[in-house]
Structures are given as C-alpha cells and as structure tokens.
Amino acid sequence: MPGSRLGADVGGTFTDFVLVDPTSDRILNFKIPSTPSDPARAILQGIQQLVERHDVDVTAIDYFVHGTTLGVNTLIQRMGSVTGLLVTKGFRDVLEIGRLRLPDPTNYFVEKTPALVPRHLVKEVDERILANGEVLRPLDLGQLHGVVTELVELGVDSIAICFLHSYRNPVHEREAVAYLRQRFPQLYLCSSAETWPQQREYERALVTVINAFIGRRMEEYFDRLDRNVRALGIPAAILTTKSNGGIMTAESARKAPVETLLSGPASGVIGALYLGRQAGYDRLIAVDMGGTSADVAVIDGDVLYSTESEVAHLPVVMPTVDVSSIGAGGGSIAWVDALGILKVGPRSAGADPGPACYGRGGTEPTVTDAYVQLGIIDPRCFLGGRLPLDPRLATEALTRLGARLGLAADELAAGVLDVATANMHAQLMPLMARKGIDPRDFVLLAYGGAGPTHALLLAREAGMRKVLIPPSPGTLCALGCLVADVKRDSIKTIYRDSAELTPAELEDEFAALEADARAWLSAQRLAVGGTMIVRSADMRYRGQSFEITVPLRAEPPGSMAEVRSPFHEAYQRIYGIADEQAPVEIINLRVTVVGVTAKPQRRPAAPRATGRAPRRDCRTIREHGKEVTATVYQREDLRPGDTVSGPTVVEAADTTVYVPTGYAGSVDGWGNLLIEGEGA
C-alpha cells in the first residue's frame, strides 16, 4: 500500500496543508496561521492537527514537500549573514552600480535599492581572465589572503566570489574557493560559476551574493525542521520547492538557497497547471488574488518561465515561474484624491487592521467591504464562517467616503469594484502584450481568497470567456508542492558564432551540462517515474543586443542549420521577419533535467445520479445599480454535473465564488467549477 503524501506551503499569513491519503481516498485541505519568527513551528502545528483532528497516521507519510518563505523573507528584511564579496580588480562597484537604471527616474525622492554588500565589504582581487577564457593575470593568492583577513576582521562570516568571465573559465574562482576553504574553514563560501555560470557580471554576482547572504539561516532552519519532523515520526525525507516550479532535497537547498526565493508563487502555478490539465485546459491565465495583491501567471501548454524576475527589488536571472503582480487585493483601500476622483490601492489594509468589516479598527473602505456591501459576500459565511464580518462597519466606511463624491454606499461599492477591476485590467493587458499573448484565447483560473470572488469581473473586462475555479482555491500552493517534479536548470554561456561551431562541439557542451544535471538528479535519491532532459539555447543575430531562448531537440544535432532553424522560426513569429542568411550567435546553452514524480492517482467522480444541487438560500445582491436575487449554494453540496446560473453565489470554506447575471457554471468530475459567459 502506498503511503500518504503531505504538501505544506508556508505563506506570509497562513501555512496551507494538503494531505492525500490513498488508503481512505481522501484529500484534506486546511490552513493555520503562519509563525513568521519560527516558520517551522506552524508546520509542526499543522502536522499535530493532522493527528489530533483528522486522525492521520503520520508514520505513513512517505512523501513530504514543503515550500518556505524563509529565504525570501531573510532577503526582504535584510536579516542574513554579514557577507563579503570578492571581485576582479577594477569592478568594486559591480553591486552598487547594478544596471544603472533608476527605479523611478522622474521622482526626485527616489532611492536606489541599497547594495546587499556594502562597499567596504567588497574587495578587489588581483586577477584577470579575458572574454575568451585566457588568463591575463594569474590569481595572486597572497593578496587574496590579505583582503579576506581584512573582511574576517570586519566581522564577515559569509563570502561570495565573482570574478570577471568566470562563466567561461572558472579556474580562479575555484582556486580561491579551495584556498579559502583550507585557510578560513569557518566561512560560508559560494562562487559565481558554481551558483549560476551566466555571462553578465552584475546579475551573476548578485545571485551569488544572495546565496551567501541567506545560506546560513537556511542551513539552521533545515536542521531544526529535520530534527522536529523526525521526532514526530514522519519517515519521509524533507523536500522543498523551488522558484522554477520544481522540488529538491533539503540537502540541495542548503547549498542553493537562492533557488527557493520565488517558490511560493511558483507552487501555486504548478498546482494550477495540474488542475487545468486534469480539467482539459492547458492555456490558462492563473490569477491568485489574496489580501494585498493579485498575481498573474500564464500557462501556454506549459508554465512560462522568466529569467528577469525581481525579488526584494533585486533582479534574479535564474529561471523562475513567471509571476507578476497586477495590483489590487481584497484589502486594497478605496480613497478619493484631492480633486474628487475615486482611487483604489495601492495601499492595503492587509490582514491587520484589515477591511473595515473585520471590526479590527479599520475605518477605510476596502474591496472586501464593497463585496459585503453589495451582498456578494455573506458576512456570516466569510471563510466558512470562521471570521464573522460586520456589514454595518462596511456600510459606515463606504458612506463616509461616498459622501465626498455624493454617492450612496451601494453606488460607491459598485464604483470601488469597477475601479479595482480597471486597475487590474490596466496592468494585465500591457503585461500580456509583452508576452505576445491575447487573453481571449485563454481560460482564467482563479485562486487565493479573493480570486474566485473577483474572477468574473476581471474576465469580462479582458474579454475572457471561461473561468475555472478549482475545488480548493485557498490551498492551491500546497497542492502544487505535492504535484511538482524534481527539477534543475543549468546554464553555460558559450558565446560562439554558430558558423564556427560544429555539431559535435555543440553536442559535447550539451553532454557535459547533461552529465552534471543527471548527477544532481541521482544525488537527490528520489524515486522518479522517468527522467526528461530539455535543451534550449539563447540565440541572436550577430550585432543584436538581445537574445531569444529557443527549445532544441535533446539529441545530437545533425547540422548547425538544424540548430539555427528553430531560432529563425521563433524570430519570424515574434518580429514578422527572419533572415536565414544572417549570421547567428549562440550565447547560452540551457539544460533542464526533470525527474517526474508520481502524482496523486484519482479518478473523476461520477455525476449526481438524480436531483440537483440543494440551494441553501437566496439573497439580494446589487449589480449595475439594480437589485437582483442571487441563488446561494454551498460548495460542498455541489456534485459533478451540477449547474448554476448567475446571479449566483457559491460559499466555500476558503472563498466565495461570485457568478454574475449572464454567466452559468457547471461542476466537472474533479470538482472544478467552470463558468462561461453568454455574450463575453
């Protein structure tokens, strides 16, 4: 009998759990408040709750994946180690200067993001390697010893090393690491070629520095978590999620903590991909709307990845699941500007004090207050009734603000939702344009606490016809943990004219990358159902300053023309022209190794034999200034095959689904609610 599988995602406010137990064929979803000072504590509490409330035999858990925000929080709060940086002579300001561009060049009060390593802890080392990998000046170990001694005296306990062109020839970085390991064994060391050997000194130095900065705290965290989980009798090895949507062992995460930075949002998208595919859709725009913000990701056959992510206002070039913020969340505050125009956000009431209707002292109306005012959210049933809301406080807050515009509370509430939707739409459309995507060809998959409430409003604005609401929208990230594959990306900058490269040389480069990737995978010591190798290359026409990443077949190429052809095609697709005669350069080679994990095996449930979903209630809600009577269902009552027709509200333990007039929904075999519009 296979054991049970546990997924846990530590978020800012809640830690979410999903347990799949094949013996009883049950899936448990629940959340408990996070414990930011010691994130491991919430995980242990959740596991205890499994035992105490749900009678789960934790010794049968043989697969345990968790996602942690410790790395990203350490970075955001700048609470990592005292870190030093070693650079090539002449490049002391590599972190300070960054890519030069100001975050807001028109604002006289703007500040640059302070460098993660202050200038006095950056030391220049006498060495130089050329762009072609030749050594111009050998590494001066005596001088290296001197500067590191100074850094240690200044209290540094972690050191990052980034020498120029080490992606091409890492010999000096390796020499330095070997020397320092021997002479300064107490230091946490990382070198850039080891961390992410991509050309571009700032970006490479930065990921190396982040790794060094958060490494120590992650080591301590994993040690503690491991001890505690063992003490509870869970036999499974601890796995952790990655920004690229994959997972790795805690052992690997200790060495490469920088790979966990964006794992939280990534897991949600992986969960969305899994559910979407199961439901028969693989072109999805996944929208996660919570208390403070709405995040969006595109799934076009597969998850889209980005190499231009930002964490704590710092660029991270390692591939991550591409997630962007599009503004408002349920807690976003409505206000009126100096000239009497209604605005929503960017300020948020967050969880504390929260929206006015929470009754925790918030007096400014929020998006959630507008839902309550309009009857979309039932104040008695919010979060399954666990958080009773006070509708009078919502009305008061809206009335107060509405007075300034000559609007009644109902009118203002409708305006707040319209403006919030317009804000999201205004962020969404340029974002999709940058990816070359037309939202009308996609299904909107909504999750997070407020996602299912707002999804139809956004879909209507963006011209999207179908909206998919998963069965447990509140714990999709934890589900994502469970269904993620073991995955690692690697890169090598080769920077060669494709005409000067033979297929055999290219194959050698790829083979070397793949050998490393496979070695990493087997070091994970995990049972995987199969291994996939994905090759791609960043190419460009010579003379251009930007590259396109194109997939290549994972087999020895027959000719270089065969390698170039997908590039020409991709170029044609994006720019409308291609020049088959122009010289093509290959900048980076990329290999992704995927160890496919076993997924929870479930069958679609059969439709309801007779009858229809019991409606629990009716209530009045306001749409476009008119009162309409909405049918109210409980999510747990809905069975496959059931249909609902707007105006309808579906109450659930973790969210409220709003189906406006003109839309109808049906439940599929997996418990998803698929909502379609008539005229959109």
């Binding site: 300001d93 890519r99 205004a426």
Partner: protein, 667 residues
Amino acid sequence: MRTDPVLLEILRNRLKAIAEEMAAVTLRTGFTVFVKETSDFGACLVAPNGEVMSAPTDTAVSLMVGLPAWEVIDALGPYEEGDIGITNDPDITHGLSTHLPDIWLWKPIFAEGRIIGYGFNFIHSSDVGGKVAGSISPSSYEIFQEGVRVPPMKLFRKGEPNQDLIKLLLANSRIPEQNWGDIKAQIASLNVAERRLHELVARYGREVVSTGIEDLMDHAEQRSRELIRRIPDGDYSFTDYLEVDVADAGQVRIKLNLRVRGTDMTLDFEGTDYQVQAAFNLPTWNQRGHYMVCFPILNFFRTLDPEVPYNSGLVRPIELKIPRGTIMNPEPGAAYGVRAATMFRVLDILNGCLTQALPEIIPAASSGGIAIVLVSTLDPVTGERRVSVAQPLNGGSGGRPRQDGIDGTSFTGGWLRNIPNEVLEADMPVLVEEYGYRENSAGAGLHRGGCGIRFRLRTLAPETLMTARGLERFVFRPYGLRGGKPGERYRVTLNPGTERPRDLGKIDVLTLEAGEVIEFETSSGGGFGDPFDRDPQRVLEDVRSGLLSAELAERDYGVVIRDGSVDAEATETLRTRRPERGRELVDVGPERRAYEEVWSDELMTELLRLLSAYPTSLRPVVRNRVRRWVDHRGRPVSPGELAPVVEEIARAMGLKALEPEAAVTSR
C-alpha cells in the same frame, strides 16, 4: 466635469493601459539597440485636438506629454481609415520631431466614422543617413548633414503601403533592414492602439469616451494648477551654460526667468544665446508646453503627486516665451543631433529657478553630462565595421533637501541601462580596466552629491573609433545649493598613468591604436547644504567605504578621522574655527565665477542686443569674433565699450547693420 468620478478613473486606467501596451509592443518587437539598451522610443495616444491624452510611465522615455501633435495632424488631413503618417523633420513639423533620427508615425483612429483619437509613436533609429554612421555628430552645422528629411507623408493610405516612399526612405539609411524592422514594430504598436480604443468605444459608447477624454485632460489641468498654486508667486531667474566646443562657440548661455502667478507659469528664455553652428540646437518652435522644455516640470509634478494623470492637460498652464533665433528656438535649417544635451541643461536651469521657490523639494545640479559612448572596430574576418554601445555614461545626481544624491546616475537620463562589461568584451576587442565610482568626486554638502563614474578601457585592435555624444560639464561644475559645494567636472584622458597622458576634453570622433587606453571620468552631483553641518558619522561612512579620503573629510567637512573613527574633539575644534558658514544659494564653482568676471550678465545681454541687428545666420559668426576679441583683451570690458567693437568686426566682414530689435520676439 461631465464624467462621473468613477468612470473617469476607469477611463484613465484604460487609456493608460493602451499607452503602456503600445510601448510594450514596441519594446518587444523593436530592432535597434536604442530600443533595448537605452529605452529611446516612445508612444502615446493623442486627442482629436492634438493634445496627448495618455502616455506611458513604466516603459520608454517619459517624454511625451507636451508633444505638439497638432502640427502633423493638420499637415496631413483629411484622413481615411487605415492611413498612417510618417515624419522625422523638426523644421517642417515645427518641433514635433526634435532631431532626424527620431522617426515618428501616427494613425487616426475612427469610431462611427469620426476620428476619436490618434496613436503616435517614435523610435530613435540607429541611422538615418547623413555624414556619420549613426547620423549624429556634434560638429554638424546644418540639418542636411544629419540625414534624410521626411516631411509629413502618408506611409499607408487606407491600409495600402506607399512603396515609393518606403524605397526612398530605406535607400537613405546605412541599415535599411533594421529601419524597416523598427517601422513595422511601430505599426504593430499603432494597430494595438486602434484595436483597444475600438474596444473601449464598444464598451462605453463613443460619446462617453470622447467626453471622458476631454474631461481627463481638464482634470489633469486642474491638478496641474493645484500643484502650481503650491509654488509661491514670484519671478525666479537662473542662468547656466552649454559647452559647445565646436565652431568656436564656447560657453552658450541659457537664461530663464520663471514667472509664477497664481495657477499660471511662464518660462521666459529672454537673454538666451543665439543658435550655434553645431548640432546643439533645440527646435522647440516655442510650442506651448513643449515636451523637451517642460519635462522637468512634469518630473516635479510626479514627485509631488505620483498618481497625477499623465496627459497634456498638465502643461496647459505653462506658457513658453522662447526668442526666435536662439539655441532653444533656432531658425529652420540648423543642426539638432545632440539637442538632448541642451534639454538636460534646461533641467538644471529650471531646477535652479524652482529651488528658490521650493527649497524642500529640488535637488542640486546633477552631472549634466549624459553620454552614449560608441565603439567601432573593423571585423578581423569580414572587414566590416561593427558598431556597439560601449557604455551609456551618466554621473551622480545632485544632493537633495533630505537625501544624498544618487551615485553614478541621475534624474537626467535615469532611465538608461548599462551594458554588462562581460558582454562588451565578448562583442568588441576592448578590455575594460575599470568601471566604478569616481572616488572623491561628490560635491560636498550636508547631503552630498552623487559620485561620478570612472570607465577606463584599453583597445585591443587597431583603427578603433570612438564617439561620445552628450559629453558636458568639462568647464563649469554642476552647481551646489544652499551652502553645498559644486560637483567635480567631466574629464576624458587618453593613456592615463603613462608618460604622456592627454586631456582630450569633449570628443567627437576619436581614432585609437591597439593598446591605447581611454578613461572617462564623469561629472558628479553638487552638494546640498553646508558640508560642515553633515553628521560626522555619515562622513566616516564615506571614508570607510572608500568614496572619500580622510584629507577631504577634513578639508571639506571639517571632520577629523583617526584610526577608523571620528575624532570628536578635533572635529569640534575644526568646525567651530571655520570663519564663515556656507549659506549662499548657489555655488557655481571658481571657473564660472572667473568667467563671469569678464562675461557679466550686462555684457552678455548687451552683446545679444547688438547682434540682433544682423541676420540670424550671421550672428554666431560675429558673436564668436567679438568674444575672441573680448577674451584677448586681458581686462574686463564694460557694456558701453561693446558697440563700436561689434560694428567694426561686422564691417570687416562686410555686413551692414539693421536697426537692432528693441526686444527679441518669440515666434
């Protein structure tokens, strides 16, 4: 206001989204290096009356609001659906375009048979012909040297391309395929604008959208007036100089009187020097709210109110008075390539005015020299010349009322991204020896200026050409404010640290041999407030980080540092012993003070008055000769002495004086 406050915010969002999407499409599909590396492109939506109704703020240069789009709209009408206009000519478009490399396209967008708005966009093309690759040379003295001129013409008629025009256009560029690629990116962006505006009309109705657009601009105007009201009424004057080291022009004075009355503002440039026989002229045509003059005011608005609706309603309260024939409003036919340098100097000058009214907001002068360094070598295999951006170089920003200046970059050109040196070295046969902050350069102050940049590279191949447009501040320093010291000047040195280093000054086109080294040290920001009031701990931080030497800490800040910490007692003594406290509003540095000993405001004003008696095209020539005469005099010249000198020089040139104009008029 006819549109309700909810719908107005929705429309503002929708229109902003369209403008952002237009910019995003251009960025994704544009071809030239300027699009990807330096964000030198733009897009906006224009109302039927020719005012900008919406412009992006997240992508592209933020220079759109104040575009005189009516000039080309009128030139090409009537329009039919599917028409697309094209132009790049500053003269014929009266300042819509401001130099030839900016290729502008626009498309009328119809709703129910009537034009509801226009999409506009431009890309800075890497080459539009002319005497040098890249089309821009500081020493060009007439527009015909700067490339192909395209008056407003229809590139598409009812959706059909004008093939003859396209052929002519592309035949005049060194990089026709890239230009065509860029134009296609622009068309894609205009088509998006059209589709989205159609969707908006389908959703809300044509009348509602049209009215909403007008209301949004009225709203921006009101907002702008509210912000202007916060500036105390008064006349605020400031003068600064542009360094034109070609055609003998020397220091070209730009003078501004900023007049604020209630909710109106006038920018009067009377007293500004005449146009130059070099590519520094800024063709504003004195257009109301011109985008290249008003952008510092928009920065100021956005600093106070980041949510301000970004449309041309903002510039309605701003009147310009720019005398004709000056460097800021030249006669047609002048050269314009490097006009950005002039625009950046206008920002320093406007801020110099504004700080008098608003001491709590405006920073001291930023570096003022924003140079794009290009390097070009012969490919060893093909023999072709390859051109690449080596680095966009900026300097530090000025110190601010409550913050230090920003190191290495500033509010002028703050959108520029640099080139990874690893990429540069892989692309071109050069070795970067240093790319970092210029130590001991920041203008001292209570809040110090930002440091300049030092960029030193060695060429590895023979016949390496280097150009850098936008170099400035070699002679006069970026000014400090309210007791703050001025910043350090720009310096370009050939073969530094050798037996024969050469101070190059500004460079136009430089040819280097293999192994030669060139070093750029960019200017730094001026300080804000008296450096002797700066917290000694912050001085110590700069010393510890290596940006400031202990000697300068003592000299400029009165802070004594011993064994890595502040010697409080010695500091106290030094600081109290100082005879006078720096309180003067502006410190322009000793070089400019010395210059103005000779070229006083009165003398310069008199010279400009006397020159107005001669035809515009000859004024620069007479001017330069008179200035040489004065400079060689060896003693100050009084304004009264000038008339016979000017007359004699003019007579020697065979010129006949007309009656001097009583007052130089605006166009």
